[in-house]
C-alpha cells in the first residue's frame, strides 16, 4: 500500500514555431494504481509570451496515488496546442514522460512531436491551420508501431515535479 505524491507544475514550453500555446495533460497509470486525490488530467491556460520564446503556464499538478504494485508507474502525457490569432486551436505536439521514480525535486523537459501528414495536409496546414492529429491519442504513451508515423520535432515542455514516496521501502523498493 505504497503511496506516491506527485506535486509540481508544468512550467512552460519553448522551442515551438509560435508562441501562444496551451497544454492539455493527463496522467496515465497501470491498473494497480489508485488515485486517492487530485486531478489526473487538465488543461492549462493559453500563454502568449510578450518577451522571449518560452510560454509559461505554471500549471499545478497535485496527485496522490496509492498503489499495490510497481507496474504501470504513472506517466504524464502532454499535448501542446497553439491558439492562433483567430482564436482557433491546433495541435502542436504530443509528448510524454515518466514521472520520476526517485523522490525529490525533479526538473524535466519533455520533447514533443507531431505527425507530419501528407504534403497536401502540410500545405493546408501552412495556409489554413489545423493539422493531422492522432486518431487514437493513447498512442502518445503506448509504444505501438510508431515507426510508421512521419513526425516532426516540436519544442520541449518544461516540468517541475516533486515526488514523495511512502511505504515503498516496506515492500522492498528502495528509493
Amino acid at each position: 500500500m505504497a503511496e506516491l505524491h506527485i506535486i509540481g507544475q508544468i512550467v512552460g514550453a519553448s522551442g515551438f514555431p509560435q508562441s501562444s500555446l496551451f497544454c492539455k495533460w493527463g496522467v496515465h497509470t497501470g491498473g494497480a494504481w489508485r488515485l486517492l486525490s487530485g486531478l489526473k488530467e487538465g488543461q492549462t491556460q493559453v500563454d502568449l509570451p510578450q518577451t522571449g520564446d518560452m510560454a509559461y503556464w505554471s500549471h499545478p499538478i497535485d496527485l496522490h496515488y496509492a498503489t499495490k504494485g510497481l507496474q504501470g508507474w504513472p506517466k504524464l502525457h502532454l499535448q501542446v496546442w497553439h491558439q492562433d490569432s483567430f482564436g482557433r486551436c491546433q495541435l502542436y505536439g504530443y509528448g510524454f514522460c515518466h514521472v520520476p521514480s526517485s523522490p525529490g525535486h525533479h526538473r524535466m523537459s519533455c520533447a514533443t512531436w507531431r505527425p507530419l501528414g501528407s504534403w497536401q495536409e502540410q500545405l493546408a496546414q501552412m495556409f489554413v491551420g489545423g493539422g493531422p492529429q492522432l486518431r487514437n491519442p493513447d498512442l502518445i504513451y503506448s509504444g505501438a508501431d510508431r515507426y510508421r508515423l512521419h513526425t516532426e520535432a516540436m519544442g520541449t515542455v518544461e516540468l517541475e515535479l516533486g515526488v514523495i514516496m511512502r511505504h515503498f521501502d516496506k515492500y522492498g523498493v528502495e528509493s
Binding site: 493527463g26 497501470g30 494504481w33 488515485l35 486525490s37 483567430f86 486551436c89 492529429q133 486518431r135
Partner: protein, 1644 residues
C-alpha cells in the same frame, strides 16, 4: 613616409600631445605630493598607507588589464608582426612554462623572432617594483632642482613608458637574427622626436609654439625607440645619426634631454625587470586620467604573408603524418608473443565492422606512435573492435503504401483548426459533452408478429412463419450435428485409451483422465439429446400448425395469407441407417450401464457408511432408553399417562435421528436398454424413415375481397385505413419522424428512411416510437429502445438489426380482426385460450455518421477508469514473440537450423534456451488470458487490502467531495489514527437511503416528501455539476473596470468640488470571494435602529377588592409608570446578543451587534454558503423588573430585584437572504403574537409623533434594521446553462431579447420570461398561470363573503411551508414547480406560493397578476397583484398578508414585471415602487408587453393541471401530531431548564387549549380582548405572561426553535408554573397550521 598613414599618425600624435599636456598638470600634482611628505611625518604615513592601498588596487587591476596592456604595447610597436606578438603574448599569459619552451623552439627555428619581444612578466616582483619606483621618484625629486624637477616630473611618465618599451626591444634585439630588422632603425629617432615633442608640448603650455615646432608636431613619427642596455652606445650612436639625418634644427637642449632620459631609462631598466607591471601602471594612470581613444594604440599594418613553401616547411616541423603502410604484426604485439585467433579456438567473435585497409593502417601507425599504443591491439594483432552493430537488412520495414495499410490506431486525422469552444476538452478520453457528431438512424421497416387486425389465419400464419424461422436458425447453427460429432470423437478417444492400456492396470493419472472423459461424454450426450428433442418437437409443431392453417382455410373458405408449407423428403439408405441407429443405441446402453454401475458402487459405499452410523446411533439410543426407563421406574407411577407422554417424547428424538438408510437398488440393465430405445424413438426419427425438411413459401393465393364474407371485408377495409409512422426520439426529445405508410395486408411496412442526426449532446437514449394513424387520430403503439452504438460502429458497415416490440393495449373488433389482449381460441370448443398482444419487429440500425474525409463523427471512447490497458503488455516475453510462436516450436527449430544460428552468440541465447526447453519436454502455454500478466506476482498487497485501508478510503471520499468529508481538513498520516467512527455517519446515510424516518418528521407524508425533495435535489445537482465546470473569463480573472469617459468626467468634476470635511464619503467595500475564508472571518453586522408601536404593558388586574398595599403591588404600580422597556435580542447560530434597554413604545437603540458566522463543516464555498439554512432571529423583549422588598430588621432594608424578559415579537431573516442580498435595509413588521397577555397596543396616546399616520394605515409593530456581512461576500451566480426546452425557438429568442433589453434599459428591475421547471426544462412563464380551483370548503365556508374567502385562501397558501430553492438546490438554480407538484411537495419558494395564490384568485374571478419584483427581506421575489373594488392590492403569498397600493409598509420595493396567463409586461415607468406606479397595463408606454401586435401570443398551453385534487387531511392524524408536538415541546422546555423544576399548570393548559381553535377560526385577529378577560377571570391570582405562536407545519425543528427563541423557559422565579398548549388545525392536502400557546404563571 608621407603616405596617408603618416598623416593619420601625425594626427594621432597631435592628439596624444594634447592629452599629455593635459596630463601634465596631474603629474605635477603627483610629484608634488611626495615632496610635501618630507615636511610632515604624519602626512607621510598617511600617504604610504594610501600608496599601499593603491598598490594593492593596481595589482588587482593589473591582473585584469595585463592582457589589454599587452596588446596596447604591441600596437605601439613598429613591428610588422604585431598580431603574432599579441597572440604570443596572450599565450604567454596563459601559461608561463609554455613560454619558455616556445621561445626556445622559436629561436631554434628562427621563426617569428618577434615572439620574444614581450618578456615574461613576473607578477611577484611587481610589488617590489612599485615600491622601488616610488622611492626612486622621491629620490629624483630631491636631487634635482626646483625647475628641473618640474620638467622631470612632466616627463617621467612618458619616460617610464619608454623604458618599458626599451626593455621590450632589448630582448628582441638580443636574439634578433632577422636581417630585415636592421632596416627599421627609425625607432630611436622617434624616441628623440617624441621627447622633443613633449618638450614642445610643454612649451605650448608656456607659450605659443614656433613654426618649426609646429612642423615637427605634425610631421614626426612618434615611434617607441628601442634602445638597449647592453648596446647603449650603439643606440646612442644610432640616435645621433638619425637625428643628424633627419633633424638638424634640433638644439642641444634636445640632445641633453635625450641624454638625461637615456640615463634615466638606464636606471629604470636596471630595476625594472618585470616590464609589464609598470607599463600597466603607467598606462593605467594615463588611461584613467583621461580617456584615450583606442586609435591612440592602434596602427594599421599590412597583411602578413608567409610563403607557401615556408608554410609547408613549418607545418612539416609541427605535424606528424602516419604512413599508410601495413604495420607488421610483431610490432603491434608485445615482445615474443604469437598472435592468437579467438575464432579458431571456438570462441564467438562477432563480425568486425568494415574499415578500409589504408585507414586501418594509418590508424595503427598513429596509435603505435602514441604512448601505450599497444594496448589498443588485441591478441590477434588487430585493433580491438566490437562486432558490427549494423544489421545487414534494415529492421524497419520499408514504408510503402503509407496511406493504405497503416494500423488504424496509428492513423492521423487532419483536423481543422478549431474554435476554442470545441477545443477545450480534456485530453485522452474524458468524454466531451459537446462535439460535432452525427448519428445516422436508418429505419428500414416493420413486421408485425401480431396486430389487432390479424385474422385467425394471420395468427396461425405468423406462428408458422415464426416457427419456420426458428427452424431455419437452428438448422443454420446445427447444434445437434456439432454435439454428435463431439460425442463420437470423445467416444473414440476413450476407446483408444482403453485399447492401449487395455490389460494393464491404469495409473493414477490415466484413471483421472478416464473418469474425466466419461463425465464429458455424459454431459455431451445429455446436451445432444435435449437438442435432438427440440429439433424433433419443432418439426412436429411446424407440421401441426400447418395442418391447423389448412383446416382453417378450408373452414372459412378463403385464404388471407400466402403461406404454403412443403415437406421435402430425403430418403436414406435403410440398412446403414438402421445399423447406425443400433450402434448408437448400443453405445449408449453400454455407457449407461457403466455409469449406473458406477453410481451403484458409489451409493453402495455410501449406504454402508450410513448404515454403520445408524447402527452405532441405534445402539447408543437403546442404551439411553434403558437408563431412562430405569429412572422412570424409580419415580412415582401415579400418572401413567404422563409417563406415556414422556415416553413418546423420548421416542420423538429417536425418530428424529438418522433414518435407517435404504440399500440402493441394483440397476436393472434390461430396463436400461428399454429406456434408451424409448428415448431414441421419442427424440429421433425412426431408422429408415425419410428425413423431412420443411420449406415455407409465400406463393399461395389470397382470396380476393369480393369472395370473402362480410366481416372479413370489414377487416380488410379497416386494415387499409390504417397507416403507420415512426417518431425518432433522441434523449427523449423528438427529432424526426418518418413518412406515414399504410398498413399492407401482410402487415409489413417498409419505410426505408435514413435520418442523419447532428448531435450536440451526449447520446443517452435513442427511442423509436411506432405510431398508428387511423384517419386523423394517431395512437402510440409501441416504443423501441435502440442502444447507443459504439464509436466504432460506423455507417456502412452495420447490418440492419431487428428489434422486437410489443404493446399491452387492449383492442377489440367486431369484425374478423382478432384484436389484441383478447383471449382467442382455435379449438372448436373454445378451450385452450390464448391471449395475444400486439407485437412485432422493427428493423433499423443506428450508427455513427462518416464525415467528408471518412472521419467517423463519433465521440471518442471514454477512458476506462484506472486505465486498464497499459503499455506493460509489451514487456512480456510471451506476447513479444507472439502467442503463436510458443505453440510452433517446430517452426522455430526449423528456422534456427536454416539460418544456422551461432549458438555462441549471446544475442541468440534466449532462442537457444527456448529451443533446448522445447526439445526436452513440452512447454505448457497458459490456458488463461491475463490482462496484466506478472502483475499478481509483483503486487505488494491484494486488492482487498487496498480496499480495506481506511485512510485511503477517507482520502478518496474527500476527493469525491462526499458531503460528510468534503471539508475534512486533516487526514491522519497513519492508518491506525483513522477511526471507524469517521465513516459511521456516512455508512448510516448510505444504509438509510431508502428507509423513511418518521421520527424526524412526525408525519409519514412529509417524510416521503422530504425524501422526494432530496432525490430531486440530487438529480438537479448532478445536472448542474457539469454546468458548473463551464467557466467564463470573469469567473477566473477579476478585472478592475476601466472607467468610462462619463465616470472620468464625473470624477474630474468632483475634484473641483469644495472640500467638505463634515460630509462623510461612502467608501466602496471590497468584495471577497468565498474560497479563502476560514472560521471567524465572517461577521454578521446587525444594526438595530429603532422600533415603533411596541405594545405597552397593561396595568395588572386592578381588581377593586384588593388593596394595593403589598410591596409587589406597590412596585407594580411604580413600574406601571413605565409603559414598556423593550430591548432586542438577536440570536444566530446559538450566539445571542442583545441591545441595551430603551424606554417607551417607540424606542431608538441605534446599536450595532456583531455576530460571528461559521459555515457548516468550515466550507466557505459559494454552494455551501448558499445552502446554509440558519436564520437570524431578532426577538423583541420587554424587560420587567420586579422588586421584592425584604425588610430585614437587623441590617435595614434591602431590595431584591429580578429581571424578567417578556417576549413581544420577532423577526426572522434567513441567512441565505442576507447572503444573496449582501445587505438588508428597511423597516420590517415584527411578527407579534395574536394575543399578548399583559400587553396592549397603545392607541390614543396623543399626537406626539409623525408615526400616527402610519399607524393608522397599518397595524403592527415595526422595527428598522440594517443587516450586512463583514467582509462582503460575493454571492454565487446562478448557472448560465442553457436548458433544454420544448418551447418554440422563436419564442425563446424573443424572450432572450426581451430580457436582454430589459436588463440594458433598467438593470435593477427583475425581468423573467422563462423559468426552469422541475424537470430542468425551460418553460415560458405564462404557462404557469391558469385558473385553478381552491379547496371547495374554503369557498363554502363563507358563501356570501368573498372577502373572507379570499383571506382564507391566502392563509391556506401561506401555510404551505416555504423553502427557498437557493437552500434546497445549493444555489444552483431557481426551479418552478407546478401547483400540483407544489401541493404534493408541500414546500416551495415564494414563486410557487405566488403562482398558486394567483391561480386561486383567477378561479375566484378576480383580476390577478404575478408581480416579479424585489422585496425586503426576501430580495428578488414574486408577489400577487389583484384588482378589486377599483383598488389594487398587493399580496404577500408567503405570509398571506395584503397591502394596499399606497401602504407605506408594503415590503415590496420594486416591481419589474407583471405576468398573467396571456402576457408579460415589463415596467418601463420612471419609478419602481408600487406607490408611484400606475398599474394600467394597457398603456404600452408604461408597461411594455411581451406579446404585442408584431409578435402575437402563439397560444401557449398551460403546464398546470386542469384541476387540483385535494385530499382531506386525516383529523385523527392531526390530533396525534398535536399530542406528539406537545409532548416534545414539554420535554424540551424541561431540558432547557436543567437546574429548576418545571411545573405545568394543567388548569391553565386546558383553558389555553380551548382557546386555540378560536384563534385559528379568527385567523388570530380581534380576539384579544375577550380572550384576556376570559383568562383573567380564570387565573386572577397569577401574574401571567404568555402568547400564542403560529407556524405552518413542516418539521418539528422550527417549532422548537421558535419556542426556544421566545425565552419563556428562562424565567427563574422559583414559584413559576408553565402552561403549554398545542393545536394543529388540518387543512386540505395535509397542510397543517400549528398553534403553540405558551404562558408562564407566577403566583402572586
Amino acid at each position: 613616409m608621407a603616405s596617408s598613414g603618416d598623416i593619420r599618425e601625425k594626427l594621432r600624435k597631435k592628439r596624444q600631445a594634447l592629452q599629455e599636456t593635459l596630463a601634465k598638470s596631474k603629474n605635477e600634482d603627483d610629484v608634488q605630493e611626495p615632496e610635501g611628505s618630507e615636511e610632515d611625518p604624519g602626512e607621510t604615513l598617511k600617504r604610504t598607507i594610501r600608496a599601499q592601498r593603491q598598490r594593492k588596487k593596481k595589482k588587482l587591476l593589473e591582473q585584469t588589464l595585463v592582457q589589454e596592456s599587452h596588446d596596447n604595447d604591441d600596437v605601439e610597436e613598429i613591428s610588422t608582426i604585431q598580431r603574432d606578438g599579441a597572440e604570443e603574448g596572450s599565450a604567454e599569459k596563459a601559461d608561463h612554462s609554455v613560454i619558455s619552451l616556445r621561445s626556445q623552439t622559436g629561436s631554434q627555428k628562427g621563426l617569428s623572432s618577434r615572439a620574444q619581444q614581450t618578456p615574461s612578466s613576473q607578477p611577484q616582483s611587481l610589488d617590489d617594483f612599485v615600491k622601488r619606483r616610488l622611492e626612486e621618484r622621491l629620490r629624483a625629486a630631491r636631487s634635482k632642482g626646483e625647475s628641473l624637477q618640474q620638467q622631470e616630473a612632466s616627463l617621467e611618465p612618458a619616460s617610464r613608458l619608454q623604458g618599458l618599451r626599451d626593455r621590450d626591444t632589448v630582448t628582441r634585439f638580443d636574439r634578433e637574427v632577422d636581417p630585415d630588422r636592421s632596416g627599421r632603425h627609425d625607432a630611436s629617432p622617434a624616441l628623440s622626436t617624441r621627447v622633443k615633442f613633449r618638450e614642445a608640448a610643454r612649451r605650448v603650455g608656456k607659450g605659443l609654439p614656433n613654426a618649426e615646432e609646429a612642423y615637427n608636431f605634425f610631421t614626426f613619427n612618434f615611434e617607441p625607440d628601442p634602445p638597449d642596455e647592453s648596446e647603449r652606445s650603439s643606440v646612442k650612436r644610432q640616435k645621433q645619426r638619425k637625428i643628424a639625418d633627419r633633424d638638424e634644427g634640433r638644439g642641444d637642449e634636445a640632445e641633453e634631454q635625450e641624454e638625461a632620459e637615456a640615463d634615466e631609462d638606464n636606471e629604470e631598466e636596471h630595476e625594472n625587470q618585470s616590464e609589464e607591471a609598470p607599463l600597466v601602471q603607467n598606462e593605467e594612470e594615463d588611461l584613467f586620467v583621461i580617456d584615450q581613444s583606442p586609435q591612440d594604440f592602434l596602427e594599421v599594418k599590412k597583411a602578413v604573408y608567409v610563403g607557401y613553401q615556408n608554410l609547408i616547411q613549418r607545418e612539416n616541423e609541427q605535424l606528424f603524418t602516419p604512413s599508410f603502410r601495413t604495420v607488421p604484426t610483431s610490432v603491434k604485439l608485445p615482445e615474443n608473443m604469437k598472435p592468437r585467433y579467438l575464432e579458431d579456438e571456438g570462441l564467438y567473435v562477432g563480425e568486425r565492422p568494415h574499415v578500409s585497409l589504408t585507414n586501418e593502417n594509418i590508424l595503427e601507425n598513429r596509435i603505435l606512435k602514441m604512448e601505450e599504443g599497444k594496448k589498443w591491439f588485441g591478441d590477434d594483432g588487430r585493433i580491438m573492435a566490437l562486432p558490427d552493430p549494423i544489421k545487414e537488412s534494415s529492421t524497419r520495414p520499408p514504408l510503402f503504401h503509407m496511406e493504405e495499410d497503416v494500423d488504424p490506431s496509428l492513423q492521423t486525422v487532419y483536423r481543422k483548426a478549431l474554435k476554442s469552444k470545441y477545443a477545450n476538452l480534456y485530453i485522452a478520453g474524458a468524454a466531451d459533452p459537446e462535439g460535432d457528431y452525427q448519428l445516422d438512424v436508418d429505419v428500414s421497416g416493420l413486421i408485425f408478429s401480431h396486430h389487432p387486425l390479424f385474422s385467425r389465419e394471420h395468427v396461425l400464419g405468423a406462428r408458422l412463419a415464426q416457427l419456420y424461422d426458428q427452424y431455419l436458425t437452428r438448422q443454420h447453427n446445427n447444434l445437434t450435428g456439432h454435439l454428435t460429432d463431439k460425442l463420437n470423437g470423445l467416444r473414440s478417444a476413450l476407446r483408444n485409451m482403453l485399447e492401449i492400456h487395455g490389460g494393464q492396470s491404469l495409473t493414477q493419472a490415466m484413471q483421472q483422465r478416464f473418469s474425466e472423459y466419461s463425465l464429458e461424454i455424459r454431459t455431451t450426450r445429455q446436451l445432444r439429446d435435449s437438442e435432438q428433442e427440440k429439433d424433433r418437437t419443432l418439426l412436429k409443431n411446424i407440421v401441426k400448425v400447418w395442418k391447423e392453417l389448412k383446416a382453417l382455410r378450408e373452414f372459412q373458405k378463403f385464404s388471407n395469407t400466402p403461406y404454403k408449407l412443403y415437406l421435402r423428403r430425403e430418403n436414406v439408405d435403410r440398412a446403414s441407417d438402421e445399423r447406425e441407429h443400433e450402434d448408437e443405441i448400443l453405445a449408449e446402453v453400454v455407457e449407461f450401464e457403466a455409469e449406473s454401475e458406477e453410481d451403484y458402487q458409489k451409493k453402495l459405499t455410501e449406504y454402508n457408511k450410513q448404515l454403520e452410523e445408524w447402527k452405532l446411533w441405534r445402539r447408543k439410543q437403546k442404551a439411553k432408553k434403558k437408563k431412562k426407563k430405569k429412572k422412570k421406574k424409580g419415580q412415582t407411577h401415579e400418572d401413567t399417562e404422563d409417563e406415556e407422554q414422556e415416553a413418546s417424547e423420548s421416542e420423538g428424538p429417536i425418530e428424529e435421528g438418522p433414518p435407517k438408510p435404504e440399500p440402493p437398488e441394483r440397476p436393472d440393465f434390461d430396463s436400461i436398454e428399454q429406456q434408451v430405445r424409448e428415448k431414441a424413438s421419442r427424440i429421433r426419427r425412426k431408422p429408415g424413415e425419410a428425413i423431412l425438411i420443411p420449406e415455407l413459401s409465400a406463393s399461395g393465393n389470397i382470396t380476393a375481397s369480393e369472395l370473402c364474407p362480410r366481416p372479413e371485408i370489414a377487416r380488410r377495409q379497416d386494415v387499409a385505413r390504417r397507416s403507420l409512422f415512426i417518431k425518432i426520439l433522441y434523449n427523449d426529445k423528438e427529432v424526426s419522424r418518418t413518412d406515414s405508410r399504410s398498413l399492407n395486408t401482410d402487415f409489413r411496412v417498409h419505410f426505408g428512411q435514413i435520418f442523419n442526426l447532428k448531435i450536440v449532446h451526449c447520446p443517452q437514449s435513442i427511442n423509436l416510437q411506432v405510431f398508428e394513424e387511423i384517419g386523423s387520430s394517431c395512437s402510440l403503439l409501441a416504443r423501441v429502445f435502440v442502444p447507443v452504438p459504439e464509436p466504432s460502429v460506423v455507417t456502412g458497415n452495420v447490418p440492419v438489426e431487428e428489434y422486437e416490440f410489443s404493446s399491452n393495449q387492449r383492442v377489440m373488433f367486431d369484425h374478423e380482426g382478432v384484436g389484441s389482449d383478447v383471449p382467442l381460441s382455435f379449438e372448436a370448443d373454445g378451450s385452450n385460450k390464448q391471449t395475444l398482444l400486439t407485437s412485432g419487429k422493427l428493423s433499423c440500425c443506428v450508427s455513427w455518421g462518416i464525415g467528408e474525409d471518412d472521419v467517423p463523427l463519433a465521440p471518442p471512447v471514454s477512458q476506462q477508469p484506472g486505465g486498464i490497458h497499459s503499455g506493460l503488455d509489451r514487456l512480456d516475453a510471451v506476447t513479444y514473440i507472439g502467442a503463436s510462436g510458443l505453440y510452433d516450436m517446430k517452426k522455430i527449430g526449423e528456422w534456427a537450423t536454416q539460418s544456422r544460428l551461432d549458438p555462441n552468440d549471446p544475442k541468440n541465447a534466449s532462442i537457444m534456451q527456448l529451443l533446448k526447453v522445447a526439445s526436452s519436454g513440452e512447454v505448457t502455454a497458459p490456458e488463461y488470458f491475463r490482462l496484466e500478466h506478472l502483475q499478481e506476482e509483483f503486487n505488494f498487497v491484494t486488492d482487498e487490502e487496498l480496499e480495506r485501508s481506511k485512510r485511503f478510503r477517507l482520502l478518496r471520499l474527500r476527493n469525491r467531495e462526499v458531503a460528510e468529508f468534503r471539508n475534512y481538513k486533516c487526514v491522519p498520516a497513519l492508518e491506525r489514527e483513522v477511526t471507524d467512527k469517521v465513516f459511521q455517519e456516512y455508512e448510516k446515510r448510505l444504509k438509510e437511503g431508502e428507509i423513511i424516518d418518521t421520527k424526524e418528521h412526525l408525519d409519514s407524508h412529509r417524510a416521503l416528501v422530504a425524501k422526494y425533495l432530496q432525490k430531486i435535489r440530487e438529480s438537479v445537482i448532478n445536472r448542474f455539476l457539469l454546468a458548473k465546470h463551464h467557466y467564463v473569463l470573469s469567473d477566473l480573472v477579476i478585472e478592475e473596470e476601466i472607467p468610462s469617459i462619463g465616470i472620468l468626467g464625473l470624477n474630474l468634476f468632483k475634484l473641483a468640488e469644495p472640500k467638505r470635511p463634515l460630509k462623510p464619503q461612502r467608501k466602496e467595500r471590497k468584495k471577497v470571494t468565498a474560497q479563502n475564508l476560514s472560521d471567524g472571518d465572517i461577521k454578521l453586522l446587525i444594526n438595530i435602529i429603532r422600533a415603533f408601536d411596541i405594545p405597552i404593558r397593561r396595568p395588572q388586574s386592578n381588581k377593586p377588592g384588593q388593596a394595593p398595599q403589598s410591596a409587589i403591588q406597590g412596585s407594580d404600580w411604580f413600574l406601571n409608570q413605565v409603559q414598556v422597556r423593550p430591548f432586542v435580542e438577536v440570536s444566530f447560530q446559538r450566539t445571542v446578543l442583545q441591545t441595551t434597554t430603551a424606554d417607551g413604545p417607540n424606542p431608538c437603540w441605534n446599536e450595532e451587534l456583531q455576530l460571528p458566522f461559521s459555515a457548516p463543516n468550515g466550507d466557505y464555498s459559494n454552494a455551501s454558503l448558499q445552502s446554509v439554512k440558519d436564520e437570524v432571529f431578532i426577538n423583541m423583549f420587554d424587560e420587567v423588573v420586579h422588586e421584592t422588598g425584604v425588610n430585614d430588621k437587623d441590617r435595614g432594608k434591602s431590595i431584591h430585584t429580578w429581571v424578567e424578559k417578556h417576549w413581544l415579537g420577532s423577526v426572522k431573516i434567513p441567512f441565505s437572504t442576507i447572503y444573496s442580498q449582501s445587505r438588508i435595509d428597511g423597516t420590517f413588521k415584527v411578527n407579534t403574537p395574536a394575543v399578548l397577555l399583559g400587553y396592549s397596543k397603545e392607541r390614543s396616546h396623543g399626537a406626539n409623533g409623525g408615526y400616527d399616520i402610519m399607524r393608522s394605515l397599518s397595524e403592527g409593530t415595526f422595527i428598522t434594521l440594517f443587516i450586512t456581512m463583514e467582509p462582503q461576500l460575493v454571492p454565487g451566480e446562478t448557472i448560465r446553462e442553457k436548458f433544454d426546452s420544448q418551447e418554440d425557438e422563436h419564442l425563446l429568442q424573443a424572450s432572450e431579447r426581451f430580457e436582454r433589453e430589459a436588463a440594458q434599459g433598467y438593470p435593477d428591475r427583475p425581468c423573467i420570461t422563462t423559468v426552469i421547471d422541475l424537470n430542468g426544462k425551460t418553460v415560458f412563464i405564462t404557462r404557469f398561470i391558469r385558473p385553478l380551483n381552491p379547496p371547495q370548503e374554503f369557498l363554502d365556508a363563507f358563501p356570501n363573503n368573498p372577502q373572507e374567502a379570499t383571506a382564507l385562501v391566502a392563509r391556506f397558501v401561506s401555510l404551505i411551508p416555504s423553502l427557498p430553492d437557493r437552500v434546497s438546490f445549493s444555489g444552483a438554480c431557481d426551479l418552478w414547480s407546478t401547483c400540483d407538484q407544489f401541493l404534493t411537495l408541500l414546500a416551495g419558494d415564494e414563486e410557487e406560493h405566488a403562482v398558486l395564490l394567483c391561480n386561486y384568485f383567477l378561479s375566484m374571478d378576480k383580476k390577478a397578476w404575478l408581480i416579479i419584483g424585489t422585496a425586503i427581506p426576501e430580495g428578488p421575489t414574486t408577489y400577487v397583484l389583484t384588482y378589486e373594488q377599483s383598488r389594487y392590492l398587493i399580496w404577500n403569498p408567503s405570509s398571506g398578508q395584503y397591502y394596499g397600493q399606497y401602504d407605506t409598509f408594503c415590503p415590496l420595493q420594486t416591481i419589474g414585471c407583471l405576468v398573467n396567463a396571456d402576457n408579460v409586461w415589463f415596467n418601463v415607468q420612471e419609478y419602481t415602487t408600487p406607490m408611484r406606479l400606475s398599474f394600467d397595463i394597457t398603456k404600452a408606454n408604461l408597461w411594455k408587453p411581451f406579446f404585442s401586435r408584431s409578435f402575437s401570443h402563439p397560444g401557449l398551453s398551460s403546464v398546470q393541471p386542469e384541476e387540483l385534487v385535494y385530499r382531506r387531511t386525516d383529523k385523527a392524524a392531526a390530533a396525534e401530531l398535536q399530542d406528539r408536538i406537545e409532548k416534545i415541546l414539554k420535554e424540551k422546555v424541561m431540558e432547557w431548564r436543567p437546574r429548576h423544576p418545571t411545573r405545568w399548570n394543567r388548569y391553565c393548559t386546558t383553558t389555553l387549549k380551548q382557546f386555540l381553535p378560536k384563534l385559528e377560526m379568527s385567523r388570530g385577529q380581534d380576539v384579544t380582548e375577550g380572550h384576556r378577560h376570559e383568562l383573567q377571570s380564570l387565573l386572577g391570582e397569577n401574574r401571567i405572561s404568555g402568547f400564542p405562536l403560529h407556524l405552518p407545519f413542516c418539521e418539528i425543528r422550527p417549532i422548537i426553535e421558535a419556542v426556544y427563541s421566545t425565552g419563556v423557559h428562562s424565567v427563574q422565579v422559583s414559584n413559576v408554573e408553565f402552561a403549554l398548549a398545542v393545536y394543529v388545525h388540518p387543512y386540505p392536502n395535509n397542510v397543517l397550521s400549528v398553534w403553540v400557546y405558551l404562558a408562564s404563571l407566577v403566583r402572586t
